[in-house]
Symmetry: C2
Subunit: 369 residues, 2 copies
């Protein structure tokens, strides 16, 4: 840690450290910074009072260990932690500045917004930077890379304007990231709008959302805007699809019920799937997916119903239906469509994840027009 801090200070005018401000014996960032920056740790009664008040407010005794969080480096300004107990610290080091920030994202993010970003903005008043992230589901990274190559290789730079492209695959989602840096926010916006248009021209409907959007937030917004109610019948995704939908605040406006029908008996009882269908085609079949979706639609009285039934593995596969075989049903008052996907790499969790995202993306395409 000492080496890393020294190294960062050599390279940069501002160093952000996150984590290691907790109360336990292995939270050592304060001590490390104190040693490297040669500034002693000073006890602050004011900070201790604040920590004790936090514990009192939630009706818990404060452990003695938490007193460690009341120490700040000499000359440092504390940053109030609105969520947890550890304050952040701003430490001037000659012309440079070191920030000590908490590790948990819920504590870090408010400090970034309230203190660190305004500090950086003030330090560089003439540097503007704007980032756009486009999200794509269900296509290989190398394919997306290939088709957008003409946009990336075009020369977007001009005096005072620099463009940086990035492409990142995490699981089955591809993010195309564009950052424009310039000396005026108007130039930023103009260049970014042009690039956005060029990328949509190539990728179109493959892009399901931008920036903070997720498949479930985009689908949720569409359902809400159109006043539609969705219900779910899940087998192999086992609640993951419903969990994604209900992660979104306000999802009760468009999602009222979901059925996790993991066994054959529950598919019959809860969705009205016919015993013969299960016997003849199996639980993992488009025929079963069709009856699951239709039964779910009818019994819930919703506008749309999605069904998912498949083999998430690692066991349960056969030659005809290997692990990764997943059947989907999408039902609305207009009728029902079914299809099958073969997720032929990744383990159980990845198959479940891709099945849930496939269902969401299919619904998005079905209701978006």
């Amino acid at each position: 840690m000492e080496h890393a801090l020294k190294d960062a200070l050599e390279r940069s005018a501002v160093v952000l450290c996150s984590g290691g401000l907790g109360p336990t014996f292995d939270d050592l960032t304060r001590e490390c910074a104190s040693k490297v920056l040669k500034k002693p740790l000073i006890f602050s009664q004011k900070i201790l009072d604040r920590i004790q008040a936090k514990f009192k407010a939630v009706g818990r005794p404060m452990a003695a260990e938490n007193a460690r969080q009341a120490y700040v480096l000499k000359g440092a300004s504390p940053i109030i932690n609105s969520v947890g107990t550890a304050p952040g610290q701003i430490i001037p080091v000659k012309a440079k500045t070191v920030f000590l920030l908490p590790g948990p994202p819920s504590e870090l993010a408010p400090m970034m917004d309230s203190t660190v970003l305004p500090f950086l903005r003030k330090k560089s008043p003439n540097v503007f930077s704007k980032t756009l992230v486009l999200h794509i589901f269900g296509y290989p990274e190398s394919e997306i890379d290939e088709v957008i190559e003409p946009v990336i290789s075009r020369n977007w730079n001009s005096p005072g304007v620099a463009v940086i492209f990035g492409i990142l695959a995490h699981r089955s989602i591809i993010d195309v990231k564009v950052t424009v840096q310039s000396k005026s926010s108007a130039a930023d916006r103009k260049v970014l709008a042009d690039i956005r248009k060029a990328l949509y021209g190539i990728l179109g409907d493959k892009i399901y959302g931008e920036d903070e959007e997720t498949l479930e937030s985009v689908v949720g917004s569409l359902l809400k805007k159109k006043g539609l109610i969705l219900s779910l019948a899940e087998s192999c995704t086992g609640g993951l699809l419903a969990s994604k939908i209900t992660r979104i605040a306000g999802s009760s406006d468009y999602f009222h019920r979901g059925l996790i029908t993991y066994s054959d008996a529950s598919k019959i009882d809860l969705l009205g799937v016919k015993h013969q269908t299960l016997k003849k085609f199996g639980a993992v079949s488009e025929e079963t997916a069709r009856e699951m979706a239709l039964g779910c639609l009818k019994r819930s009285g919703s506008n749309w119903a999605l069904s998912v039934t498949g083999i998430a593995g690692p066991s349960g596969g056969s030659k005809e239906k290997p692990v990764g075989t997943v059947c989907f049903g999408v039902a609305s008052r207009a009728g029902v469509k079914t299809f099958t996907k073969h997720f032929n790499y990744g383990g159980r969790a990845q198959i479940q994840e891709r099945a849930a995202l496939t269902a969401l993306d299919t619904l998005r395409k079905a209701i978006r027009l």
Copy 2:
């Protein structure tokens, strides 16, 4: 990247790099290593053939970009990637060794097991290291730190044996980590067993699992061992609890159905919750949780049923029932118990997560004896 690689090589005899071996323009680890280690990149037809075969096997055309993955540093030995397309590389640098490894955990982990760990073991035949991680749910980190302090501060070291303790809080789970390093694996095991005993002596039932175990895997094993069937009635967790249960391979042995009853009407229809109960006590009440659990138990014919109903927020809270109020029901043939928790920090996702884990940990304690 160049700076980081140089820096690591100065400090260490073995350097592991992970990530940046993908096919796209911003995957630069190969080029970076080539430059720092002054070894040119050489095209390998054999590796290209293997990548092409992978694409053929899944019936997809290979994008031209993937050919970038067929380059290895001069003198490097490739490591076969059994999951993805990018091979790893072992690069001897005088007496030191640099490994280039893929970033996705599903590709990285098999290479660690097959190649990197055996390499390290061979390099240090007389160093043994064994780690134990104990998992605890629902207690503050500082409290756990305080009670285990006597174990941590005891002197476990002896000639040739070094013990390292760590404690890590992520969300509402605390991990206590103990690593023993020694010159014989027998000594390792003995010391680790003694420390384990001491920690269990203090923490007891608070520990829900060890090492790779999760709350859902522990609960699943208990249900399976005892031949019990679980069913779920979820409101505010919206499928998250079922999703955790079904993440475990083989969960169909003990989980057959789950109901996500997000609306009042679905609680009445699917679980038989009484209209009057909802009207008099509200959807978020122990009375509703009780009827949800009992209705779920009865209609599913399972041995145990869990219900969760609460206010995940950000809106929907009131003075009497603020955001974070969650009511639980645990029903078995022996009867039903209900209780209420107030999760008074964290956002929607954290409240849902803690509610799901609380339900699992409550069930664990109920069935473990």
